[in-house]
């Protein structure tokens, strides 16, 4: 347990709510360990123990007490422009925050969203967000129906269908989608979409998840804007525990993790036993790896101590193509135009240079690889070489 007194001065005002919110277990010298647990064990918010600073030590570590409470005041206050540039996160609408946080004005249609999706997302996320090949699905169908699959569990019947966890069926908040698309996608070239483009893509993803807003279906004609966005209620908004919203979130979280049975834990202070003899459930059997298991390790497992075989210097063009170019340059074609004719007239050196530098039109620098210039040129030659299937 950290000594809260030492940090009370962090609180510039001390409203009752604040003291409640911050009276982390034991700050009054008492344990708030949940009933049923041993009162001598003081619990952190995560259900674990914590070590207070006692005699200049915390656990096995010495601490410099002079560093506690020292005012150091390094750095400077960021200006408004700097804050605005980096403070781009979104928070959802809640009781405490009816407008959410960071949700910008703007709008975008399902139709525009589809166009952008086809140009910048489909190569990885598949038609209609179907996913595959290691890329996450953005939809698997009707969000409301699929939300009902979340109770599917292949625990007793391994052959049964599992739960479907995609945006529509699983995510609690739509702000996550908007924010992540804006900051994290498209994957090879993030932070490149405008506010309106992001609304359009969000609208499209709501559409393919067959969702509705305020009773209205997000159909092909739908135009999403901020006001409508604020009204989106995800089907699985209540599907998560513990509660983390509201002014009393932290006590709820502490109580939840204070009880091992909530999360499948076994705690000796909460009735579990350290069985030493004859412990096994009579029904327990040996379960072995099925069908060889997963063993495509890269590189293969090897524990010998020999000298490495000299690596071939040439890059494996097929492999690089499959892993780093194919999802955009399928069938070796240039995206968009469909063939290389539109590119090569400007001279191969220009094509190399554009590829190395990346283009506004969506080609990430070196296709997002860290190939040397020479190796990248080899790849371009390979792409153009007519080895088109």
């Amino acid at each position: 347990m950290f000594k809260l007194e030492a940090y009370n001065k962090l609180l510039v005002s001390t409203s009752v709510a604040a003291v409640l919110a911050l009276s982390v277990v034991g700050c009054m010298g008492e344990s708030t360990a949940p009933s049923g647990s041993d009162a001598s064990v003081s619990l952190d918010i995560d259900g674990g123990v914590s070590h207070p600073v006692v005699n200049g030590k915390t656990g096995n570590y010495y601490v410099n007490p002079q560093a506690i409470g020292a005012k150091i005041n390094n750095g400077r206050v960021p200006n408004a422009a700097e804050l605005a540039k980096w403070d781009t996160d979104l928070q959802p609408v809640t009781e405490l925050s009816p407008e959410g946080h960071g949700i910008p004005e703007g709008s975008g249609s399902v139709e525009d969203g589809e166009t952008i999706y086809e140009a910048q997302c489909v190569m990885c996320h598949g038609d209609f967000g179907s996913g595959g090949g290691g890329y996450p699905a953005l939809s698997k169908g009707n969000a409301y129906d699929l939300q009902k699959t979340l109770t599917n569990n292949r625990w007793k019947d391994p052959e049964a269908d599992g739960p479907t966890r995609v945006f529509g069926s699983y995510w609690p908040q739509v702000t996550t989608m908007w924010w992540y698309i804006r900051d994290g996608m498209p994957h090879p070239f993030s932070d490149s979409l405008s506010v309106d483009e992001t609304y359009a893509l969000t609208a499209y993803i709501l559409n393919i998840n067959e969702m509705e807003i305020d009773g209205e279906e997000v159909d092909d004609e739908y135009v999403l804007d901020r006001a409508k966005f604020l009204k989106i209620k995800m089907p699985n908004v209540d599907g998560f525990e513990p509660n983390i919203a509201g002014a009393n979130a932290l006590p709820a979280v502490r109580a939840y993790f204070g009880k091992a049975s909530n999360f499948g834990g076994q705690n000796l202070n909460q009735g579990a036993v350290r069985c030493m003899t004859d412990c096994q459930e009579p029904t327990a059997k040996i379960k072995r790896i099925q069908n060889g298991g997963i063993k495509d390790f890269i590189p293969a497992m090897n524990v010998t101590r020999d000298l490495p075989v000299k690596e071939a210097v040439a890059i494996d063009v097929k492999k690089v193509y499959t892993e780093s170019c194919a999802m955009c340059h399928s069938a070796f074609l240039a995206p968009g135009s469909g063939d290389w004719a539109g590119y090569t007239p400007k001279g191969i050196d220009k094509v190399y240079a554009n590829g190395i530098k990346g283009t506004e039109g969506g080609m990430p620098a070196k296709g997002g690889t860290d190939l040397s210039d020479a190796d990248f040129k080899t790849m371009v030659d390979y792409l153009i070489s007519g080895k088109i299937k």
Partner: protein, 435 residues
């Protein structure tokens, strides 16, 4: 044990040692002569021949200005697999060869590496950390300004909560590197966030902190104030040097004991708020779906856990002879406290004996454990280890954990795990479970 007692203990141990040494010397000699017979008096070539390195000059000290491992160690490496990769290994994981780990520190080059948009290469001169939101004074720090805060050095593991997460429905990896290597441990140097907050003044309504990376995925996570005012750190040092790019160079968050994903790398921003954020990695992923249909969100701590590292599928006992005395070794760790005991079973968890802890035993840190075993050739074993921490947590059986969590949870699987040692000394990953 006080000092006097321990001195006595030492004396007895030493006397004992000489007695025993005298008794075994006969057998030891017998063993030696046997070996000599085998090599027909010619001697072991590794001793009898000139070695390549024994006469010629070695490298000048000017070579390798930053040292690298012996070329013979080239198989001691991080590994990955397509099944855990998306985005051409840009949203993926490379795991630590824990079967080769020594002690409780992972060398920086072998530290497991997970990213959501690839390893970023941050220019330290352009590094900035912004701290704002519900604080009296927001700030922006350069790297030099950050490092001028009083530093703290602590040894902690970082574990991906998906460690073992592919095996809820049954074992999949015949490998300890892949079954348990989504983790590594280091000595970290940085500053407690609470120390910086002294300067800023946290507003009383603050309940949550967002930590955000500067990488292409802008990896973000929400943390409760409890942890921030306890032991959460902003770190720049790893095992005596700067963080490696794969670990977030130049600066990452370190949240001792909690999900590795919370230890945001390439850290650029901390924001304080009354309401939490719902980042992609705490909604879409890193949530544990239970059979009730409800999922646990904000599942912070990596719970008490352990594994046998030797023997393991990578380090079998196929070369042991009947009667060989061999050390069974493993790791135990808990994100909720300090390891207090490890039990070892030879029959898959029916009966346990207490093993011995070894070396430094620190909170939220890898802890080594050991058990001396006399190998019986041809006898099948089911080796199961079970750790206990000082918060009272003990590893559950698979049945116990699955009865609450089902098999769809993906994350935070810490039930006991079993190696089957076959008659030939091969080691297979198995699970002992009812369903």
């Amino acid at each position: 044990m006080d000092n006097k007692e321990s001195q006595d203990q030492t004396t007895i141990d030493r006397r004992d040692f000489f007695k025993k040494a005298a008794a075994v010397s006969v057998t030891a000699l017998a063993g030696t002569s046997l070996l000599a017979n085998e090599s027909a008096g010619k001697g072991d070539p590794a001793i009898m021949h000139h070695t390549k390195w024994g006469r010629k000059w070695g490298d000048p000290v000017t070579k390798n200005q930053y040292g690298i491992p012996s070329a013979y160690e080239h198989n001691v490496i991080r590994r990955s697999t397509k099944l855990l990769a998306s985005g051409n290994f840009r949203a993926s994981i490379a795991v630590t060869p824990i079967h080769e780990s020594q002690g409780i520190i992972t060398p920086n080059g072998l530290f497991f590496s997970r990213s959501h948009g690839g390893t970023a290469h941050v220019d330290p001169n352009e590094y900035r950390l912004m701290i704002h939101g519900l604080v009296e004074k927001p700030i922006v720090l350069t790297l030099a300004e950050l490092k001028r805060y009083p530093s703290v050095t602590r040894t902690h593991f970082i574990e991906c909560p998906a460690n073992g997460g592919q095996e809820w429905r049954g074992p999949q990896f015949n490998s300890v590197q892949f079954a348990k290597g989504f983790m590594a441990s280091a000595e970290w140097t940085g500053v407690y966030i609470k120390t910086i907050l002294e300067d800023l003044g946290l507003k009383p309504t603050a309940q949550w902190m967002l930590a955000e990376g500067s990488d292409n995925s802008k990896m973000g996570r929400t943390l409760p104030i409890d942890k921030i005012l306890d032991d959460a750190m902003i770190v720049w040092g790893q095992n005596g040097e700067a963080l490696r790019p794969e670990q977030g160079y130049p600066v990452r968050l370190l949240v001792p004991g909690w999900e590795g994903n919370l230890c945001v790398k390439w850290l650029r921003r901390l924001e304080f708020s009354q309401e939490p954020w719902y980042c992609k990695e705490e909604t879409s992923k890193y949530t544990d779906l239970k059979p009730t249909g409800k999922a646990i969100q904000h599942f912070y701590a990596n719970e008490v856990n352990s594994t046998v590292t030797s023997p393991s599928p990578e380090l079998p006992w196929t070369d042991l002879k009947d009667g060989d005395v061999v050390e069974i070794e493993g790791l135990a760790w808990s994100g909720m406290g300090t390891i207090t005991a490890v039990d070892l079973s030879f029959d898959g968890g029916k009966n346990y004996e207490e093993a011995n802890l070894k070396g430094l035993v620190l909170s939220k840190s890898w802890t080594r454990w050991s058990y001396m075993h006399t190998y019986k050739k041809g006898k099948k074993l089911l080796l199961t280890s079970r750790a206990i921490d000082d918060a009272g947590y003990i590893q559950p059986t698979i049945d116990q954990e699955v009865s609450v969590m089902g098999v769809e949870a993906v994350y935070h699987r810490n039930a006991v795990e079993t190696w089957e040692v076959t008659e030939e000394g091969k080691v297979n990953h198995v699970q002992i479970r009812s369903v």
